[in-house]
Symmetry: C2
Subunit: 143 residues, 2 copies
């Protein structure tokens, strides 16, 4: 139980700048997956994946390109830079830890998939570690 007012926003750091980082992570993750699935990743693939217009994807890809996470030439596929690949790997790993954890504590696959996507960007390394450990403990006990 929570005894007294939890330290809800104890400090400040209302870094709503995380938002663009989230977008970047979602995109590089998607680019990596789509490239594996289809051999290459096109704008329209991302548009379908995120259920947004190709215009939105196009603009976002431009921004990511300026940030050095992806490369793309006119009418060409979207590809990850070395940095983009690294970020994609990290994001995917975090995603998996969260997803496996949710399954381990009894959440359905469907809800786990949705919630994992929502929260994967907000996990500190510490929390991630706790989740991974608990998942390990639970699945070892009940395999």
């Amino acid at each position: 139980m929570t005894k007294k007012a939890p330290p809800i926003s104890d400090g400040h750091r209302r870094t709503r700048r995380d938002h663009s980082r989230e977008t970047a992570e979602d995109y590089v993750e998607a680019v990596a997956e789509i490239t594996v699935e289809h051999g290459r990743c096109r704008v329209v693939d991302l548009a379908r994946r995120f259920a947004v217009s190709h215009v939105t994807v196009s603009k976002t890809v431009s921004r990511l390109s300026e940030s050095g996470l992806v490369t793309s030439e006119p009418y060409g596929p979207v590809e990850l830079t070395a940095r983009g690949q690294r970020l994609a790997r990290e994001s995917r790993r975090r995603h998996e830890v969260v997803y496996d954890f949710l399954l381990a504590i009894g959440v359905s696959e469907k809800a786990a998939a949705i919630d994992a996507e929502g929260i994967e960007h907000h996990m500190s390394p510490e929390t991630l570690k706790c989740m991974a450990e608990l998942t390990e403990k639970i699945t070892r006990k009940t395999p």
Copy 2:
């Protein structure tokens, strides 16, 4: 050209970027807490809480007011409507469930506070229920 094929923005809804719902939840939660702590909630209180300018708060409060979650008159305090209070209670409960859960699985108070804020908006009722149950189980075992 009747593009019939691409019903891009149907189906998968706007699960993406219901970011404004998060903002609403953060605000009503903060208004409720500040009102309890100080007797009333002013724009400047919210500005300090979220570490943003009073202008940002002022605009957001206007939007929330149009959505029927808060009321405020010029130079007056920000107050929750009935709907706002209900949302605040729900948000706070969710926040507590997540926070307590993180503590229960071994996350430090500091990290738990930060992460709870990040993820509380992305939890399905199902996941929330699993977390509450597991918290109960753990804290009963090791009180």
